[in-house]
Subunit: 326 residues, 2 copies
C-alpha cells in the first residue's frame, strides 16, 4: 500500500473511532457530582456555537498548589526545606547557636521557633532564600527535592501530588486551557520542578515573590535574591498576583483553603461560564482530614461561600478513587 | 473521489512542494547581514540533532516595545496618553489650574512640566494611572487608542508598528518560540492591544507595574490601581522583570536603546546558542534618526557592546524594505 493511502486509512479509522475519542480523561474520579460538574463546564465552554463558548486564549485556569495539587500536612513542604537548609548551613554560621530563632530551630524546639513570630520567620526566610543567585537557588531546591523525604510517609514530596488533579490539569490543557499555578508558596521554590511534575512551565507559575538585584560579576550578569517581599501571593494577594502576571481574569479556579478565597471570588465574578472548585481534605485514612480549625490549609469562610453559591466541593474520601500516583 | 483519498493527495502535494515550504517569512527584510543572522539562528536552534538544538519550551524570545516594535518619537506614546488624559480630566479637577505640574501641562508648557522632575511625573502618573479599577483602565486605554493620532504622522499609534518586526514575531512563533514583550512601558497600558496587534497575549507582556488593591464593592470584587511602583521595567529592571514573570532566561532578545542593555546582557550570558538584536534608528526619511544623544531611546553603551561582541545591529535604512504596515 502506498504510504499516503495508508495514512488516509489511518485518519479514517481515527475519525470513526468513538471508543478512542471517549477514553476517560478522569479515571481517578468517581462518577459523582464534582466529576460531572468538571466535564459539564469544559463541554460548555469548548463547544463551538454554544452560548457559553469561550475562545481558547481566554481559557485560563488557575490552581493553588499546597493542599490543591500536592499535600501540605503536617506543615508546608517549603517549611521543611527551610528547616533542612538551616541545619545544612549551621556549620558555616556558628553564631546561630546563640541567636533566635536559629538556636531553637537547631535544637528542634519548633514551638519556640513559632513563638518568634513574623520577625523570626522573616529571619529564617532571609537566611535560606536570599544572598544567592537565582541559578544557585534553583540548584539548591532541585538537590533537596531529589533526596528529602516526607516526615510521616517517607515519600518524595513530588510523589505526594494528587493523581486526580494531575488528570484535571491534563484534561483542561487537552481542551485548550492554559493552566497556571497561583500559590502562596515561593515562586522560585516551585519553578524548578512544576514543568516536570505538573506540565506547568515556569512562566505559568505565580507565587510569593522575593526581591532581585542585577549585578555584573567580572562582566557576567547575575540576579541575586534579596530578602525584600514583592508579592505575598496569599488571600487578596492571589487576585493581585493573577492580574500582575496573567493580566486577564481566569474562568476556572481550584483551591482548598481560605487562602484561595479571594482568587475564587475574583474568578467567579467575571462574565460568562465560570468554574470554582474546592478540595476538601476529609480522608484521614488515605491522606489527612482537616478544615475549619486547621493550622495549615484552614478552610472556613471559602467553604461557606462555596456551599452558599453552589461552587464545586470535592470530598477526597468520596470523590477520588486514588489520591497519589501509583 | 472519496474524501480521504483527496486528503491524501493534498498531503502528498504539500509534502512535495518546495515552493510552498520556502515562502519567505521575512519579506520586508533586505537580504543583508541581520536577516541572514536571524535565519541562521532560528535554523541552528530548531534543527533536530544540531549541537545547538533548543527544546521548544526553552525557546523564549523577549522584545522591547517602544522603539523596537513601535515608534517612540517624538515622545513615548504613553506620555501622549498622559497629556490627553490630564486634559480630559481637567474639568473635574478645577484645582489643577493652580497646581503644578498640572497647570503647566494644561497651558501646553511642556518645558515647565519637564522641570517638575520625578515628583511631577509621579503626580501626573498617579492622576492618570491610579484610582480606577483595572477594567476601567483597560477601557480608557482602548478608547484612547481607537481615536488618538500621532502628532506628526496623523496615524493611529497601532499603525506605527514595524512591519519587519511583526514578521520576526510571526517567524519566531512559527518556529516554536514563545514571544514576550519586556518593556519600560506600563504593563496595563500595553495588554489591552498587544494580542490584536502583535499576537502577544496579556500573560506574555512584562512591563512597568503599579500597585493593586483588592476590594469587595457591594460583594463584587474589584482590583483598584494604586500609585505604588512595583517594578520599573527598564535597564536592570528588565532582567528582574524577566525572572519574576518568565522564570527562565530567554535565548533571544530584541531592543533598541540603553534601556535594553541589561536585558541583552542577561540573555547573551546563558549557555548554548544565543541571539541579540538592536534596532538602530538611522532613517530620518521614513522614520527618525537618533542614537547616542537622543532624549528618547538613547542608544550608546548597548551599541558599543553590540559592536564589540558581534550582536546584530539593524540599520532601518539599509536592512528594512518597509517600516510600517501598508
Amino acid at each position: 500500500m502506498k504510504p499516503f493511502v495508508s495514512l488516509a486509512l489511518a485518519l479514517l479509522v481515527v475519525a470513526s473511532a468513538p471508543v478512542w475519542a471517549a477514553q476517560d480523561p478522569l479515571p481517578s474520579w468517581n462518577d459523582t457530582a464534582p466529576r460531572k460538574a468538571l466535564v459539564a463546564f469544559v463541554e460548555r465552554v469548548t463547544k463551538a456555537g454554544s452560548p457559553d463558548f469561550v475562545a481558547a486564549p481566554e481559557r485560563i485556569a488557575v490552581f493553588d498548589n499546597d493542599g490543591t495539587l500536592w499535600a501540605e500536612q503536617p506543615v508546608y513542604v517549603q517549611i521543611l526545606f527551610v528547616v533542612d537548609r538551616i541545619k545544612a548551613l549551621a556549620t558555616a554560621h556558628p553564631e546561630w547557636k546563640s541567636k533566635e530563632p536559629f538556636a531553637s530551630l537547631l535544637k528542634g524546639d519548633m514551638a519556640e521557633v513559632a513563638a518568634s513570630g513574623e520577625a523570626g520567620v522573616a529571619a529564617l526566610m532571609a537566611a535560606t532564600h536570599s544572598g544567592m543567585t537565582t541559578e544557585e537557588f534553583t540548584r539548591i531546591v532541585t538537590d533537596w527535592l531529589a533526596t528529602a523525604k516526607h516526615p510521616t510517609t517517607g515519600k518524595r514530596f513530588t510523589d505526594m501530588v494528587y493523581q486526580p488533579m494531575l488528570e484535571v490539569l491534563a484534561y483542561f490543557r487537552a481542551n485548550g486551557f492554559k493552566t497556571f499555578i497561583v500559590s502562596g508558596g515561593g515562586v522560585e521554590f516551585m519553578r524548578p520542578w512544576t514543568e516536570r511534575v505538573y506540565g506547568i512551565p515556569p512562566e505559568q507559575v505565580v507565587g510569593t515573590t522575593g526581591g532581585l538585584k542585577f549585578e555584573l560579576r567580572a562582566g557576567t550578569p547575575v540576579l541575586l535574591k534579596t530578602p525584600a517581599l514583592i508579592l505575598n501571593d496569599d488571600k487578596d494577594g492571589k487576585p493581585i498576583g493573577i492580574q500582575r502576571h496573567i493580566g486577564r481574569r481566569p474562568i476556572a479556579a481550584f483551591g482548598n483553603s481560605d487562602g484561595d478565597h479571594q482568587m475564587l471570588q475574583w474568578t467567579m465574578a467575571g462574565g460568562g461560564a465560570r468554574f470554582a472548585l474546592i478540595v476538601h481534605h476529609d480522608d484521614a485514612t488515605r491522606e489527612w482530614a482537616y478544615d475549619r480549625t486547621s493550622h495549615v490549609g484552614k478552610l472556613d469562610k471559602a467553604w461557606d461561600e462555596a456551599v452558599a453559591k453552589g461552587w464545586t466541593v470535592v470530598s477526597m474520601k468520596d470523590d477520588w478513587k486514588t489520591i497519589f500516583p501509583k
